[in-house]
């Protein structure tokens, strides 16, 4: 089964040049996504998850940001070599995005139907009327009741969950090959979260789009992703199939993340929820050696001096940790 990956990111580094120094938000990140597959990207806030996806969309504000190295190949096209005009033909058309904040991600002064139709008119050249009809179908597809009247709603007339459905409808509008969902459920209630994730999974099966799902919630990953990328301070620290990762988490950071998920076990099994001590280091001032060493319970002398490579350990999956090397 040697399928051509839909998206290949190879050695991507994105830095931000600020007055206080260079923030290395993404360092040498590589991964690929196959058609119709969901890749989960996990990590705490400030780990470079969003910057990675914005780099793929070439939406990094420049300056101060800059993609300093790497190669992004999408559907056989080298995205970093495209000019702005060519890139605009890909955005919203072949790759679309769903953002974290449904409350603020829709333009408050335009009707939701028009906002969905806009991308269709732009990329497929449909008439406004035809595009609006498609918008109604899309709203129906994402489970919005009475879509015929809802297309004429303004965003403020909808709840958060509804707005996120509109965002998903907007992302699906031009039948993209890849949807990048940046924490799509973080701002929503737990029950709505489940509905939205279910919806995304259902749509993925129906339409065959691949999804890059960014989240800090491992529970979400377990439910929806096939492959997982664990990121820490701009680096990939572990990369595995979802089953592999949950049965055999190797990097201390991944394990820490798993221990900090609340379980629903028996009364006596329940313990105090663990946390990972400390915070993600400032990207302006990264520690020497392994970027996680000062928060790691297995830290050795070597960890503070040299940074480990991302290497396949125990013949299973790649992990960036000295515990599994030599």
């Amino acid at each position: 089964m040697t399928q051509q990956p839909l998206l290949t990111v190879d050695g991507l580094s994105t830095y931000f040049y600020t007055d206080r120094g260079v923030a290395k938000a993404v360092c040498d990140v590589s991964y690929d996504i196959n058609p119709g597959e969901t890749l989960g990207v996990v990590g705490e806030s400030g780990c470079g998850k969003s910057v990675t996806s914005l780099s793929v969309m070439r939406l990094i504000p420049e300056p101060p940001g800059k993609i300093v190295s790497g190669k992004i190949t999408f559907d056989g096209q080298d995205l970093l070599s495209l000019n702005e005009r060519q890139m605009r033909k890909i955005r919203g058309n072949k790759i679309s995005m769903i953002f974290q904040e449904p409350m603020t991600s829709l333009n408050p002064v335009f009707r939701v139907g028009d906002q969905i139709a806009e991308a269709i008119i732009l990329h497929e050249g449909l008439s406004h009327k035809a595009a609006l009809e498609r918008a109604v179908d899309l709203l129906k597809q994402v489970g919005i009741p009475s879509p015929e009247s809802r297309v004429y709603d303004y965003p403020h007339q909808m709840s958060g969950g509804m707005r996120q459905r509109v965002m998903i409808a907007m992302a699906l509008a031009c039948k993209p090959k890849l949807i990048i969902a940046d924490e799509p459920t973080t701002a929503l209630d737990v029950t709505i979260q489940a509905q939205i994730l279910e919806l995304m999974d259902k749509l993925r099966e129906e339409t065959g789009t691949a999804i890059q799902l960014i989240t800090h919630d491992l529970g979400v990953i377990a439910e929806t992703a096939q492959k997982v990328l664990v990121m820490y301070a701009g680096r990939v620290v572990e990369q595995a199939d979802v089953k592999d990762l949950f049965t055999n988490p190797m990097h201390p950071y991944t394990r820490g993340l798993m221990r900090s998920i609340p379980g629903l076990g028996e009364q006596e099994e329940r313990e105090r929820l663990e946390t990972i001590p400390g915070v993600v280091p400032s990207l302006l001032n990264l520690p020497k050696g392994c970027r996680f060493h000062d928060r790691c319970r297995h830290a050795m002398e070597r960890c503070a001096l040299e940074e480990p490579e991302l290497k396949i350990a125990d013949g299973k999956h790649p992990v960036r940790c000295w515990l599994y090397q030599e």
């Binding site: 890909i90 955005r91 953002f99 603020t104 732009l122």
Partner: protein, 333 residues
């Protein structure tokens, strides 16, 4: 929407009532006796008393106010003491001049000010941004009578491109309809008059537009910068829209909301009579008319003129509210 407009208009009535009381009281508290002004210092006590009685000034204030309001609701502001003309007639002659000048000035200010603000915001920290913001700083801080005089020296005296002052050349005949010369000449197809009126209005309008233009430019810039940081702009980018559409469609409509307030405010200030500009350019507008009325202690005219300006202010505010509701769907109509 119609209901919304009617509701807003209905709210105007109590505001105007309150304003009429305020204006009436303030004018009657101003020192100086109109009768004495009219008859001169050497008038004898009898004729003064006679005139005060004739003007109704010897009656209690509330009676005077009642009479004033009684006439006002019939659209009668009384007679100007100076000229013995009906005040409504004088206003009809002078206000259109101010209205025409203010409209041209505010249009110039809106078009250029907003354009400068938008470009400055989208190209923040560029040469254009620094340049236009510096110019707008000059615009707000420069005395406009000085600018008016400088323009006159350059364009009328040195280059002789534009007429020095007034609204129309003496040899041009124009039948007044609305007293807005640009409109009247267009209605009558009188191109010579249109061109002449346009040539006359250019300099005073540019002079008058500088301050509002500078304020609008700064407001548009800061409002646009704020909007361009919003999440929905990122969404628009992710859709693959071109920057032009993102700026002028998605961002501008949101950024307009605070700008509309400023435009309304500036426009009402202009309509209140740009006394300096009107004086320099010998523009027969309401500002210079009102100034002369004040000098002459013509309290009837001052009262009428102030009422008119108050009405204009209030109506423009209603217009701003309606524009708000039109731009911003979150306002309940």
């Amino acid at each position: 929407m119609l209901y919304f407009i009617l509701k807003k208009l209905a709210q105007v009535i109590p505001t105007l009532l309150g304003l009429s009381v305020l204006i009436f009281l303030m004018i009657h508290m101003v020192p100086g006796d109109p009768a004495e002004m009219m008859l001169g210092e050497r008038a004898n006590e009898n004729s003064l008393r006679e005139l005060r009685h004739q003007l109704g000034l010897d009656q209690p204030l509330y009676v005077q106010y009642g009479k004033f309001m009684g006439r006002l609701v019939q659209g009668d502001l009384g007679r100007a003491l100076r000229t013995n003309e009906k005040i409504t007639k004088e206003i009809k002659e002078h206000f259109p001049a101010t209205l025409e000048l203010s409209m041209v000035a505010i249009i110039i200010a809106i078009v250029l000010g907003m354009l400068a603000g938008i470009i400055s915001a989208t190209k923040q920290y560029s040469i254009f941004d620094y340049g236009s913001m510096l110019l707008s700083l000059v615009g707000v801080s420069m005395p406009i009578f000085w600018l008016g005089l400088v323009l006159m020296i350059i364009f009328s005296i040195k280059l002789a491109w534009l007429p020095l002052s007034g609204r129309l050349s003496y040899d041009i005949v124009l039948e007044p309809i609305t007293n807005l010369y640009l409109v009247d000449s267009l209605l009558q197809g009188n191109w010579a008059a249109f061109k002449d009126a346009l040539w006359h209005i250019i300099m005073p309008a540019i002079t008058l537009s500088t301050v509002p233009m500078a304020i609008i430019a700064r407001m548009t810039r800061s409002s646009m910068l704020e909007v361009l940081r919003q999440d929905y702009i990122r969404t628009a980018k992710a859709k693959g829209l071109a920057p032009r559409i993102i700026h002028y469609k998605h961002a501008l409509r949101n950024a307009l909301i605070p700008v509309v307030t400023i435009i309304g405010l500036q426009f009402s200030i202009l309509l209140g009579g740009a006394i300096l500009t009107e004086t320099i350019f010998a523009w027969p507008g309401i500002g210079s008319w009102l100034l002369n009325a004040v000098y002459a202690r013509d309290f009837n005219a001052v009262q009428g003129g102030t009422m008119l300006i108050a009405l204009v202010f209030v109506l423009i505010n209603v217009l701003v509210d309606i524009t708000y509701a039109w731009i911003n769907p979150r306002i309940k109509v």
